[in-house]
């Protein structure tokens, strides 16, 4: 088990402050945070490539803060692959075992099984610069796994890849980590990547882990609006008062089936807000007369920003609905949503 105890480090514009976390054996832990949050600094500290200003790194209770990187057994895979350009794929992969004097036979056995697992058998005699990004990252992964690391550190391993390669490698990462039952610390800024891969997600904002939770619990109960916003939640609103299923939010009463006395914030999925020109009767409990403030084109939908007195709402509508409705900025419209569309935390 890896334990990080109150780690602090300042390095230029990046800083990690008083960060604590634990990664259990066999756990896939994703450290999720925006770029510049100090995630890579943390990876280097765990790998032993950098010393923290304060705090300790423990492995199974033993303090390894001052231990050299080569004696820790934590392998790192970086976003830019960092393959050795002067070595073939084969020699890149067996670099670690060769460095510590593992027998030729054992090296070959491990190489064969990993190359097969990652589908790179046909690349072994190639040079890194002749490989595609996805292939290079598979080689980097094989090179890290061949030393049978106690902990695998992945620093934005999929960020430099195109979307299709990324999705494929993401699946492979999940499969391999389960197959080998290895502890993984995976650093990323991609929420979806974190959701798919993680047993547990640690959200890192401003140099510290603000919340560690299973993906489902994290999305169900983000601990504050900043985390909720980073997770991609929209229409995050503070609840001023709660009474019997009704919340007072921005001086409006909103029906929320998931609300309780301890709820401090709510968020409403923009897709679940219906926009209409006129009021209509329906089973939806919440309907507000609004003014259209802004209309923004996104990939496949339009984002419509509305305000009902002090209550701001953002809704997503399709291009078809938009042309049928013919709403314009400054016009009046009604926003309708069910009480079950309101998620409280």
């Amino acid at each position: 088990m890896l334990e990080l105890c109150s780690i602090s480090k300042t390095l230029g514009q990046f800083s990690v402050s008083n960060l604590s976390a634990e990664i259990s054996d066999g756990e896939y832990f994703v450290l999720l945070g925006p770029s510049g949050a100090g995630k890579s600094v943390l990876v280097d500290i765990i790998a032993g490539l950098m010393k923290p200003d304060k705090g300790r790194v423990l492995w199974n209770g033993r303090d390894v803060t001052c231990e050299k990187p080569e004696s820790r057994g934590f392998a790192v895979v970086y976003q830019d692959y960092a393959l050795f350009p002067h070595l073939t794929v084969r020699h890149n992969i067996i670099y670690g075992p060769k460095a510590v004097g593992i027998s030729l036979k054992e090296r070959d056995t491990r190489l064969t099984s990993l190359a097969e697992m990652l589908g790179i058998e046909h690349l072994l005699s190639r040079r890194p610069e002749t490989l595609s990004g996805g292939e290079q990252q598979r080689v980097a992964l094989a090179r890290a796994l061949i030393i049978q690391p106690k902990l695998l550190l992945l620093d934005e391993p999929l960020s430099a890849l195109d979307i299709n390669t990324r999705l494929k490698l993401r699946k492979d990462l999940k499969r391999i980590s389960q197959q080998l039952n290895i502890s993984v610390l995976h650093v990323t800024h991609d929420t979806e990547e974190a959701m798919v891969l993680a047993d547990r997600i640690g959200v890192m904002l401003q140099g510290t882990i603000r919340q560690s939770e299973s993906p489902i619990d994290l999305f169900r109960r983000p601990s504050d609006p900043e985390i909720a916003a980073f997770l991609g939640m929209k229409n995050i609103l503070p609840i001023t008062r709660y009474q019997e299923g009704i919340c007072l939010v921005c001086r409006k009463h909103i029906y929320a089936s998931s609300a309780n006395r301890s709820s401090a914030y709510m968020w409403i999925k923009p897709e679940e807000i219906v926009i209409s020109k006129n009021a209509f009767d329906s089973s939806a409990r919440n309907q507000f007369k609004c003014k259209v403030m802004e209309i923004e084109r996104l990939n496949s939908v339009l984002s419509v920003r509305l305000v009902s007195d002090e209550l701001p709402l953002t809704a997503l509508i399709t291009y078809e609905s938009f042309s049928a409705l013919q709403i314009q900025v400054g016009a009046e419209a009604y926003a309708t949503f069910k009480s079950s569309a309101v998620h409280c935390f």
């Binding site: 032993g48 490539l49 050299k68 990187p69 790192v76 960092a82 002067h86 510590v100 040079r127 090179r143």
Partner: protein, 266 residues
């Protein structure tokens, strides 16, 4: 009829190219002039002259030994300067450049105080290193070491630190990492630095003449023949040395480039 795209003279390019050509001409013209002025017969005669041949051999070997011996300590120093930040680093960098700045005759005098007959070393050994091939090598090393250290340092700087870091996390010790990652990747720049040091050693005159008038290195011989016999005698020796060196370095550059290409493309 007006041209649709009137041709404009690219003045900036013209001026830059003209100035550049002047520089090249300034370097090449005297050398070509010297080569052209020496007759083939003179050069072959110089090449048959035992004294000349011995001095060329001495010059090339002494500079080669200076380079190889210096490389053993110079390359680790270059690595240290490329990778580590330590107090006094800029002072060390300045010290390395010192031999380039000071007059080479002064460098020779300075060396005399360390390896001459009257020096501590000289008195301990009963004789100094003046007038010996070893002394010549030391003089050459002193004035040409900056080229090796600076070249190698640049080469190590251009090796991504991340590759060394990855090697360490894979279990490699610092020395294993140095020999398997840093050194092979910096190889081209290091060889470039060594060739430059060797070349600078061969051409050294000021420091060498103070340490050893005899045995005579070729630059000293050119000077001596010019003084004693005049221009044409000195010229043929100079041209011979020039030809040998240019040939040698062209081959070396070619070989090291081909090797590096093979290493990255194979």
């Amino acid at each position: 009829m007006k041209a649709i795209h009137p041709y404009k003279i690219p003045w900036f390019e013209v001026i830059v190219s003209a100035l550049g050509s002047l520089v090249i001409l300034f370097i090449v013209a005297p050398l070509i002039n010297m080569v052209l002025a020496a007759s083939f017969a003179d050069i072959t005669q110089a090449a048959r002259d035992v004294e000349v041949v011995q001095s060329v051999k001495l010059t090339i070997t002494a500079a080669f030994c200076a380079t190889v011996v210096s490389a053993f300590a110079g390359i680790p120093l270059a690595y240290l300067l490329a990778r580590k930040n330590f107090p006094g680093r800029s002072l060390v960098l300045a010290i390395i450049d010192l031999p380039i700045i000071i007059p080479h005759s002064a460098a020779g005098i300075a060396l005399l105080t360390v390896i001459g007959r009257q020096s501590f070393l000289g008195r301990t050994l009963g004789t100094g290193l003046t007038g010996t091939a070893a002394g010549i090598s030391i003089a050459m090393a002193f004035v040409s070491l900056p080229y090796l250290v600076n070249g190698a340092r640049q080469a190590f700087v251009s090796v991504p630190k991340r590759l060394e870091n990855v090697a360490r996390t894979l279990g490699a010790s610092p020395s294993y990492t140095f020999f398997t990652i840093s050194l092979p990747l910096a190889r081209r720049g290091i060889i470039g630095g060594m060739i430059l040091m060797w070349a600078r050693g061969i051409s050294e005159f000021g420091a060498v003449i103070i340490i050893a008038y005899h045995p005579m290195t070729t630059p000293v011989m050119v000077f001596q023949r010019f003084n004693d016999f005049g221009l044409s005698y000195a010229r043929s020796v100079a041209v011979l040395l020039l030809m040998i060196c240019v040939g040698l370095f062209a081959v070396l550059r070619f070989v090291s480039n081909v090797k590096s290409e093979n290493q990255t493309n194979a």
